[in-house]
Symmetry: C2
Subunit: 210 residues, 2 copies
């Protein structure tokens, strides 16, 4: 006989088992279903079936919970970007387009998570988990931009400007799209244009080789 309770009993056990992961999972569900303002410590605790003060042991405070969730988001984000790159082949033009679609696609697929990831006043970027996860995402993004400007003689400022311009472009598009600010523009286009086709047209404006 071990000390483990049965499955049925473990649900009512004093100790949860893996409350931290459970809270993060419930938090993500709440975030994507009801928005960031509905994601409270108490709501996550309720969903996980524990007392409202239980999360404190694992996250400290609300910022802690949100930061850990954002870290998970950045890890998935990095993976999605890397996937987009590998599927794109070797053509720099295709790679940069794939990265842009991957960036905006992630934001569209996980709107709550994406919004949280860039809500810096709610997060503590010094938390190790979040710091590591944002670093991974930065590197994934940098890989795409390096493929864009193969000219090794470019000045650092110009290289940085290309990276910043690409990042700004896709981040701005994703943000405006999520906020619904592009709907008017898309609706006034002839034909059945969608946000995706507009994105393709936007990505086509990028100058890959100077």
């Amino acid at each position: 006989m071990n000390h483990e309770a049965t499955d049925a009993a473990s649900r009512r056990a004093y100790h949860h088992g893996d409350l931290k992961a459970a809270l993060l999972a419930e938090a993500e569900t709440i975030l994507e279903k009801d928005g960031i303002q509905a994601l409270t410590l108490r709501a996550a605790a309720r969903a996980a079936g524990v007392s409202h003060a239980a999360p404190k042991n694992h996250f400290g405070d609300l910022t802690g919970l949100l930061s850990e969730l954002a870290a998970l988001g950045f890890l998935r984000f990095s993976a999605a970007l890397a996937d987009a790159m590998t599927e794109a082949g070797d053509d720099p033009r295709q790679r940069i387009k794939a990265m842009g679609r991957g960036y905006v696609g992630f934001a569209t697929t996980h709107p709550g998570l994406f919004a949280l990831m860039f809500r810096s006043e709610l997060l503590d970027y010094d938390r190790p988990a979040l710091r590591d996860a944002t670093l991974a995402a930065r590197q994934a993004l940098a890989a795409a931009v390096r493929a864009r400007a193969p000219d090794p003689s470019a000045q650092p400022l110009q290289m940085a400007a290309q990276a910043a311009a690409f990042w700004s472009l896709v981040h701005g598009f994703a943000t405006l799209r999520l906020e619904g600010r592009l709907n008017g523009m898309i609706g006034s286009l002839p034909g059945n244009e969608t946000a995706d086709s507009l994105l393709d047209a936007v990505l086509a404006t990028i100058r890959v080789a100077d």
Copy 2:
């Protein structure tokens, strides 16, 4: 003898005089000084020296106050963009750069207001004041983009893509800058590069004439 109280007495009068404007002014101060999370109905009421329920008469609820404040922001934003355009002269290249600097400059000068203006889950864009103000800003932005592509034979999708690309670029840059996400990139550049010089380099990547 009229019914007006003296200045000294009027500060303690039952009726405020122009509480709506006073609340908006205090709200903006709180927003820029302590951030959006500190901007509460009760904090604004306290700053204006009225009871915590007084704002309800003028704004209904918190969304109402935030929406009116965002509307003020959009009006100032439109004016700033128009100013930047008029000062830029007639060269399309200069106009588009001026618009970009004006866009990011406004966000930098009024970080709280700018963030609020695009926090759509906190606002009611159907409020007349906010609807009108956002329309004005859209038109100011459209004016800049028209100057960029003088080719009347361009397809609507290409025109929209140029507009969306420019908007995404400057909005994304402004957002990332405000969130501090560009600091690492700027800090790793040689010389004394600033966010402003990076922005200039980013705007220089825009293709004005195809």
